[in-house]
Symmetry: C2
Subunit: 356 residues, 2 copies
C-alpha cells in the first residue's frame, strides 16, 4: 500500500510527451507546447520539485479559463539598442520568458550586453530556465522575476516585498553551467515544515508569526510570514529586482502583482528582467572556458573539515540529480500523479505510467 | 580625558580640503585628488566608517611606495558597443572606478544599458560611490568588486571566495537615491566584536572558528572566518560577482587577488563591474520618478508591530546620517585622528581641528 506522500517514478520521455500533448490540446502551438513541457520536465530533473509538474494543475486551470494566453502576442513596446521593453500580453510565463531571453541573447551578440524587461506576464517557473537558455548560447545569463509581496521586513507586521527570485548562469566546459537560482527569503517554506516534522526550533531570522513578530516555532512561522535573506540585505535585493522587473518595464510592482493561487481568474501582471552578457569580449571562447575551469577547480579543491561533505559549485547538485532522474525517472507523489492523470484523462491522453 | 575609542567631530569642509591637499602632494592631478577626497568624505558622511578615512593610512603608504598609481593610464582594451573591458593600470581604485562608471553611463545613454568590466585596479572603497555616480546622472547603477577569498563555505575549512560587495542605486525625487550596498558575508566582522562586548552568543550561521567549524562564540568567530549570507545563496552571489569582475575582465580572480593589508607592496589586481541602465526607455523621467515615489510610499506605509521602529528604504539611514554629519561634523576616533594628523604633518598640511 502507498500513502499520498510516497512517490512513483515516471520516465522523462513519458512525462514530456504527455505534457506536450496536453498543452497542444489546451490550444498552444506545437512550439509553445514543447517549450512548456520541456521546461517543466527539466525543472523536475534538476530536483526543483517546488516548481515543475507541481504547478501543472493551476496552469491548466488558468489556461482553460483563458486567464493565461496560450499563444501570447508578445510585443516590443520600446527600446534603445541594447535594452528593450516588452509586453507579455498576459501569456504563459514560460513562453514569454524564453521569448524575452532569446531577444536579450541577440542583443548581447550584437552589443556585448543585452537586456529585456517584460511587463504583463505570468508565473515563469524556475528562474534558472532562462539563465540556462543564455548559457546554452555560450553567454552569461541573468533572469529575475517579481512576485506579490510575501516577505515581512524585520519590525513590520505584514509582507511588504516579494521573495523575488534571481538566477545567474555561466557556461563551463563540464557539461553543465554554473547556475545559481535563489529567492530572496532566508529559507523556503519547506524548511519550516521539515523543522516542524523533526520537532526542532528555527533560528529567529527565518520567519515571523502572523503578526510579524520573529518566532522560533516552525508552526507559527508557517502560519506567518518569511523573513528576507540576511534581513536588510535580502530586502534590498528584493527591491532591486522589483525595480528592474516592475518599475522600469512600465508594469506592475509590489501589491499590484497578483498571485496565481490567490487570484486564479486574473493575469498576474508579473514582470521579468533578462540580461545576457557575452563573456568573450576580452578573450576568445576557449580562454574563457579555461578560466572558468580554473575557477571551478579552485572551488572544488577547498579542504573540508567534515570529510563526509563535498564542495559543490552552484548547479552541480542539480546536474547530478538530472543525470540520476534521466536514468531512474522523475519521482512524483502518489497524490500529484493522480491529479495529473485526472487532467490527462479529461483530454483523452494516456495516463503516466511508473518507469520500468 | 579622552580614550582612544572616543570620537572627535571634524567638519566636512576641513576634512575634504586637507585630503585634497594631501592627495595632491602625493602626486595626483587636481581632479583625481578632489575625487578621492570627496569619495572618502562622502563615505564617512553616509556613516560607512569601515571605509572612508579609516583606510587613509594604507592608501598613503601604498601611494608613497608607488604601488598604487596616483594618475593611472586607464585603457579600454576591448569592447563591443555596450560592453567594454578596461585595464585600470594598477591605479587608485576611486579613480579607476569612477572612470569606468563614467563610461558605463555614456554607453547606457547611447544604448539603454552599458557595462564596463575592469581589471588591474585596487581597493575602490564603498561600492555605493559608483552606483550613486549613475543615480546622479538619472540612471540606475550597479557596482561590484571582487576581493581575496575571505569567506568559508559551510563544511569547508578555509576561505574559498570573497565577500565581494555589490551596490544597486536607483534615482528618486526625494533628494537621495534608493541605495543598497552589501557584502556577501552573513554579517560584518564588527557584529562579532559587538556580541563579544555584550557577552552574547552568535547564531551558528555567522562565522566559523579557525578550522572552519561553525561557532556560536563571537571571539572564536573573530579569530576564524565569516560565513556567506544565507549559506549557499551568498556563496553563489559571491561567485557571480567574481565571474563578472575577475573572469570576463581578463583579470585576477579568487586567490590571485591580493589584499592591500596582506600584500601592501603589490597591486591588488582588483576587478570591478559597472553597469548603468536608463530607466526611461518605456516612460519619461517624470513618470519614472512618480513610479519610484509610489514604490517608496508603499514601503514606508508598512504597519510596524514595534511602534518604536521605522521602515527605511535602502540608503535612507545613510541619507539621515549624511544630513546630521554635514551639520555636526564627522566623528573620528581619537586614535584615527592622531594617525591622520601625523600624516598631514609630514606633508606640512595643517592638522584637522575639532568642529565648532
Amino acid at each position: 500500500m502507498t500513502t499520498a506522500a510516497e512517490t512513483v517514478n515516471v520516465s522523462t520521455g513519458n512525462l514530456e510527451q504527455s505534457l506536450t500533448a496536453l498543452f497542444g490540446d489546451l490550444g498552444m502551438t506545437q512550439d509553445n507546447a514543447r517549450q512548456c513541457a520541456s521546461d517543466m520536465v527539466l525543472t523536475n530533473l534538476w530536483g526543483i520539485d517546488s516548481h515543475g509538474v507541481l504547478r501543472l494543475p493551476i496552469y491548466v486551470q488558468r489556461l482553460e479559463a483563458n486567464v493565461i494566453k496560450a499563444n501570447p502576442d508578445i510585443v516590443t513596446r520600446d527600446g534603445r539598442s541594447s535594452f528593450e521593453v516588452m509586453d507579455g500580453d498576459g501569456g504563459m510565463g514560460y513562453v514569454v520568458g524564453h521569448h524575452a531571453m532569446k531577444r536579450a541573447i541577440e542583443l548581447a551578440r550584437q552589443n556585448g550586453i543585452g537586456a529585456v524587461a517584460v511587463r504583463n506576464s505570468n508565473h515563469y517557473g524556475a528562474a534558472a530556465l532562462y539563465a540556462q537558455q543564455a548559457t546554452q548560447a555560450g553567454l552569461i545569463g541573468i533572469s529575475m522575476t517579481n512576485v506579490k509581496p510575501n516577505l515581512v521586513v524585520p519590525g513590520g507586521s505584514k509582507p511588504i516585498t516579494g521573495n523575488n527570485p534571481l538566477a545567474f548562469g555561466a557556461p563551463t566546459n563540464r557539461g553543465f553551467p554554473l547556475m545559481l537560482d535563489i529567492s530572496m527569503s532566508a529559507v523556503a517554506g519547506g524548511k519550516l515544515l521539515l523543522a516542524s516534522e523533526k520537532g526542532e526550533k528555527i533560528p529567529l531570522d527565518w520567519a515571523t508569526d502572523r503578526n510579524g513578530r520573529p518566532t522560533d516555532d516552525p508552526d507559527a512561522g508557517f502560519e506567518g510570514f518569511l523573513l528576507p535573506l540576511g534581513g536588510h540585505k535580502g530586502f534590498g535585493l528584493s527591491l532591486m529586482i522589483d525595480i528592474l522587473c516592475g518599475i522600469i518595464s512600465g508594469g506592475a510592482h509590489q501589491f499590484d502583482i497578483k498571485s496565481m493561487y490567490g487570484a486564479p481568474d486574473a493575469t498576474s501582471e508579473t514582470g521579468h528582467m533578462m540580461i545576457a552578457i557575452d563573456p568573450t569580449i576580452a578573450m576568445d571562447e576557449s580562454e574563457f572556458l579555461d578560466r572558468m575551469d580554473a575557477f571551478y577547480r579552485t572551488i572544488k579543491s577547498s579542504p573540508m573539515w567534515d570529510a563526509t561533505k563535498k564542495m559543490y559549485i552552484p548547479g552541480e547538485i542539480e546536474n547530478e540529480t538530472r543525470l540520476a532522474r534521466q536514468r531512474d525517472g522523475i519521482p512524483l507523489t502518489v497524490s500529484l500523479l493522480a491529479e495529473v492523470n485526472e487532467i490527462l484523462q479529461r483530454y483523452q491522453i494516456s495516463p503516466l505510467l511508473p518507469a520500468v
